[in-house]
Amino acid sequence: MNQPPSSWQEATAPLWRDNLAFAQLLGLCPLLAVTTTLVAGLALGVASAAVIVIASTTMAALRRFVTPRARLPLALLILAALVTVVDLVTAAVLFDLHGVLGLFVPLIVVNSGLLAHARTVASERSIAFTFVSALSTGLGFIFAFIVLGALRELVGHGTLLAGTEMLAGSGSELTLTLPFSGMLVAVLPPGAFFVMGLLLALRNRLTRRAADGEAPR
């Protein structure tokens, strides 16, 4: 790997600094809609991450062969095919979970953040850079799903990891139940915005403090 370290840093920025959800505020619709439990959030996060890694890397590999104008339609074609496959496979293997995720698996195709990545990074950078960057974007997105899902499930239902049997089959229940029954609002749509807003405020505070600590450049 003869990439300079700055390039590596740039490719991994979407993990935290340029996090799709917390920094760019993209892809919020599925994020806020599905994260009523940790398991559901995790599942859609993983599906989105897998789709973006494959789609962006493919686009980067094809970039030199196609004219710029054709890139968006081709990216859409790849995304649509991938998402359809993921949707069918989830319905076949994880039927109950598929019922919970509902429309949001097919809707990955119009996730603005993934599209933006497939269009910008994949249209300008090397295959390796795109792969690392897509992986970081995906992992950062999964991170957002996990944090939001866990917080909302804890506060809203008073449980954690409810529904693991939907992922790994019966007999794998790992649910932690807290001794309180939950504040319903956290799992309702407004609660999604409350929790997201608090997380953003916290993140802003952390980044500002870090910036204050640094010497002015």
């Binding site: 030199r64 062969f65 196609v66 004219t67 710029p68 054709a70 095919a81 319905a91 039927f95």
Partner: protein, 219 residues
Amino acid sequence: MASADGHPLLTVFVAIALAAAAFYAVHTAYDWSDERIAANERARTVARLNSVLEPELRDRDLTTSLLAVTDVELLGSDEPVDVFVLTDRGAPMATVFAAVAPHGYNAAIDLLIGVSPIGTVTGVRAVRHRETKGLGDAIEVAKSDWILQFDRKALTAPPAELWAIDQDEGAFDAISGATVTSRAVVTAVKNTLLYFEQHRDELYARAAEVAAAAETDGP
């Protein structure tokens, strides 16, 4: 734009290749998943049927005949409604209606209602609904026991005029904060029992025909 932008002709070629690959991928995934998804759906229906049967019938190998009947007034839908008649060597053991409560709070509520041959309710489950989270969704058995109060009820017990929620001077508890939802479900169960009372013999006769036809088709 950066350095080497592809030639238009090359682009067309890539697009065609990609389209072919996408077609192949989707086709393969569909072939592979089609039967599995159908099996999953069948398993879900059977599991749901079991949930509204009397416990002693649940593990028995009953013949299930699927009928479709339409009755806007009593079954709540102008579309045909699935009715499963379960028989043991020709003797009817249970009937399960996929009835609809049309006047839910937000939308119609899809129910599964099990009825014994003598017209008592063996179980009711809400299989699909859009009731308010935290209020009307207490009709789900996972959220509360409310829907279990219909077990063993019949049109004579309580008497037909008491088939209403307590606010309407009936014999059934309402979910607090979800009167409309409760009323919708009580009425739907009552109407299904009425339908069963009026069409019992017809349903059994049709089920026998279906079962006989399946017998001759089978191995």
